[in-house]
């Protein structure tokens, strides 16, 4: 019972699968191509149809000759010949047709017309000649009709409607003649003819279905083969790409290994537990160990013992986070016991399961660099404190003497103490400039911006520098005041810029000259300009006027004093305050130095 259920189930599933296969074949086969194939098949059969008609027509004409009106027989023969020629022309046209695929429905239509014409020409013979013939010739003609109808089955098997038209063209007039002949036997034959006709049409229909599925199968197979070939080609291409990719990976692996091997920095490959798997040549040189002494051992060998706990902590973090770390400064003992400080970049390599499989550590010896940084800091600190403290005493003592509070001194002694004080001050200015530029360039200078009325600032700068101007017999004059204009700036630093520009202008002005200071609106900025009547800026000097340690010529330094850092400091200060600074030579001699700062409303 169970068994039979299973069996019937299996057979049903087989049925279903056969239907599915047929449906798939129908889907895959292009119906246009199937039609074109059927049309091609039909045209291939045409010579048979033409030949059969021509030969049978010739025999019939020969037999009917003399038994009928001569002209009528020849007329019919002419029709048969015309049909044969027309069909041949159609066949020729079809064979020459360049596009048999898209025009297949048209060719089918023409063929249907030709088949109907062919059938009808035999039908005409039946209608015209049958009645008047003797018995044996009637049998001959009936036999001929039946034969011609039967020949149509294989000839038009690929399209049963065409066969139906063709056979109807032969048999319908014949059938009519038989029915109306007035002979009982003929009536019975006439009744049998449609039955045979229907049987033949059914056979033709079946054959058409066979052709259809045959051609469908052929095209489905063709398509399948094509798909298969495309798939094959794609696979082949992918295989090639894969192979190429593998080669590239291999090549880049070799390149990488070469990079690591030849790199000037130490490269270590470590296992997740800290065991060294590989080291490059630079690492051997840096730490003084041969590769064999390091490989297989723990990397802690390269870390000072007192830092092991810290090292372990960092290592754990690295393994846990699986993220690259950079800038790790670690004290690494060399083989000879001398400590190096190295900066490390460590990169964990992770597999697709997110497990760390190796760690690449790249180290650079920064001992000398750190030492240089430390020395620079110390130097700066020495400059600022150790040099300024004695200068305080020197300048202070001289100021006390020169101010006269210590009582009168001899005139020539007084002149010398003034010289000493001025040069002490120069030395101090130089130190201050050096400290300033160092501070600015290391980004350590912090500004204290406040809203400043520009006119007030210019006035304050003039007052502050008046004494300096008097030394060079130069007068500062403010021109074109702009009341109520404000900028956001560090007051002390902006005064420093003004002092620089004013003292430069004074130094390079002719004796008894006037330095003019103007303020003006410049778009969204406010511009302060200092104009002198000196010699102007030499062409060769223009490009580097805001550089460090620059002066037009070295004799000027000796004559006028100054570090050559003043304008470099000014430029950086103004830029820190979001402004810009520049200069131009004046028509009629002299130079103009200017700076611009963004205007702010005094809220």
């Amino acid at each position: 019972m169970n068994h039979s259920t299973t069996a019937s189930g299996t057979s049903r599933s087989l049925e279903v699968s056969t239907e599915a296969v047929e449906a798939e074949i129908r889907d895959r086969a292009d119906p246009r191509q199937v039609l074109a194939d059927r049309v091609a098949h039909l045209y291939r059969q045409m010579p048979v149809a033409i030949g059969a008609t021509f030969i049978a027509g010739a025999i019939a004409t020969y037999e009917l000759q003399g038994r009928f009106l001569q002209e009528l027989v020849l007329f019919w023969w002419a029709i048969v010949v015309v049909f044969s020629v027309a069909a041949s022309v159609l066949l020729y046209a079809y064979r020459r047709s360049p596009d048999k695929l898209s025009s297949a429905p048209d060719w089918l239509r023409w063929l249907a017309i030709a088949a109907l014409g062919n059938g009808a020409s035999w039908g005409l013979a039946g209608g015209v000649f049958f009645r008047a013939l003797s018995d044996e010739h009637q049998v001959f003609l009936g036999f001929l009709f039946a034969g011609m109808a039967c020949v149509g089955v294989p000839v038009y098997a690929a399209s049963w409607p065409i066969f139906a038209l063709y056979a109807a063209g032969i048999l319908a007039p014949f059938c009519y003649v038989l029915l109306t002949y007035g002979n009982r036997l003929f009536v019975e034959i006439a009744l049998l003819v449609p039955l045979f006709y229907a049987l033949n049409v059914v056979i033709a229909y079946r054959l058409t279905q066979v052709f259809l599925s045959g051609y469908r199968l052929r095209h489905a197979y063709g398509k399948l083969t094509e798909d298969h070939r495309a798939l094959n080609q794609r696979l082949e291409r992918q295989l090639l790409e894969l192979e190429e990719a593998r080669r590239q990976v291999e090549a880049s692996g070799r390149k990488l290994a070469l990079f690591a091997e030849r790199a000037p920095i130490a490269v270590l490959e470590l296992q997740p537990d800290g065991t060294v798997s590989e080291v490059n040549h630079a690492a051997e040189i840096l730490f003084g160990y041969a590769a064999a002494e390091l490989v297989g051992g723990h990397v802690r060998k390269l870390v000072r013992a007192e830092f092991h706990p810290e090292f372990d902590r960092i290592w754990e973090e690295l393994i846990a986070k699986r993220e690259s770390m950079a800038g790790l400064k670690i004290r690494n003992p060399r083989r000879d016991g001398i400590d190096l400080i190295c900066e490390w970049t460590v990169t964990p390599l992770v597999n697709f399961r997110q497990e760390v499989i190796a760690i690449i550590a790249q180290g650079r010896d920064v001992t000398a660099q750190l030492e240089a940084e430390r020395m620079k800091k110390e130097f700066t600190s020495t400059l600022s404190h150790e040099l300024r403290t004695p200068l305080t005493s020197i300048i202070g003592s001289l100021q006390l003497i020169n101010s006269g509070v210590m009582g009168e001194v001899d005139k020539e002694v007084g002149e010398l103490t003034v010289v000493a004080e001025r040069n002490g001050q120069r030395l101090l200015d130089l130190i201050n400039d050096l400290l300033d530029i160092e501070k600015i360039e290391s980004g350590k200078l912090t500004l204290a911006p406040e809203l400043i009325a520009l006119d007030d600032l210019v006035r304050e700068a003039i007052v502050l520098n008046q004494a300096f101007g008097e030394r060079f017999n130069v007068r500062f004059e403010s021109r074109g005041e702009l009341p109520g204009r404000h900028v956001l700036a560090d007051r002390k630093r902006l005064l420093q810029v003004m002092t620089n520009l004013l003292s430069n202008a004074a130094k390079f002005s002719p004796d008894g000259g006037v330095v003019e200071i103007s303020t003006e609106d410049a778009g969204a900025n406010l511009r302060v300009a200092v104009h002198d009547r000196g010699t102007g800026i030499p062409e060769a000097f223009r490009g580097r006027i805001f550089g460090r340690f620059t002066q037009a010529d070295s004799t000027a330094t000796r004559q006028k004093g100054g570090s050559g850092l003043g304008l470099a400091i000014c430029k950086r200060l103004i830029e820190l305050m979001h402004g810009r600074i520049g200069f131009e030579n004046r028509a009629g001699g002299g130079a103009t130095f200017w700076f611009e700062l963004p205007r702010r409303s005094a809220a």
């Binding site: 600022s384 300024r388 305080t392 003592s397 006390l400 101010s403 509070v405 101090l428």
Partner: protein, 129 residues
Amino acid sequence: MPDRPLTRICYVEDDEDIQRIVRMSLERVGKMTVEVVTDPTQALQTFAEFRPDLVMLDWMMPVLDGPALFRQMKLRPETSALPVVFITARASQRDLDELKSLGAAGTISKPFSPRDLPEQLRAIWAKLP
């Protein structure tokens, strides 16, 4: 502003040259009475004896530097209200801000001008409550 003029200054400084200049500046130019302390550990005792109007502290000194001494002063009731001015060559803006917030009356940077020093101190004195 305090109701009396600034006359008595105590200056804690380890550098004897600068001591001398500051003393001369304040005495000659400023007409003030000056007491100088070389050893900062003795400073608190000197303050108690001399009773200055204002104390000037050098920033960098061995054993006990200016800021440390200042913090000690703040802990003692007899010195906590004394106005303190720092003299310094290298303090960063952050250090100065911190001292201001602790209650320093002012700072004077090295090198200072002995001609102007009395004026600078009087200006700080005038701003005191």
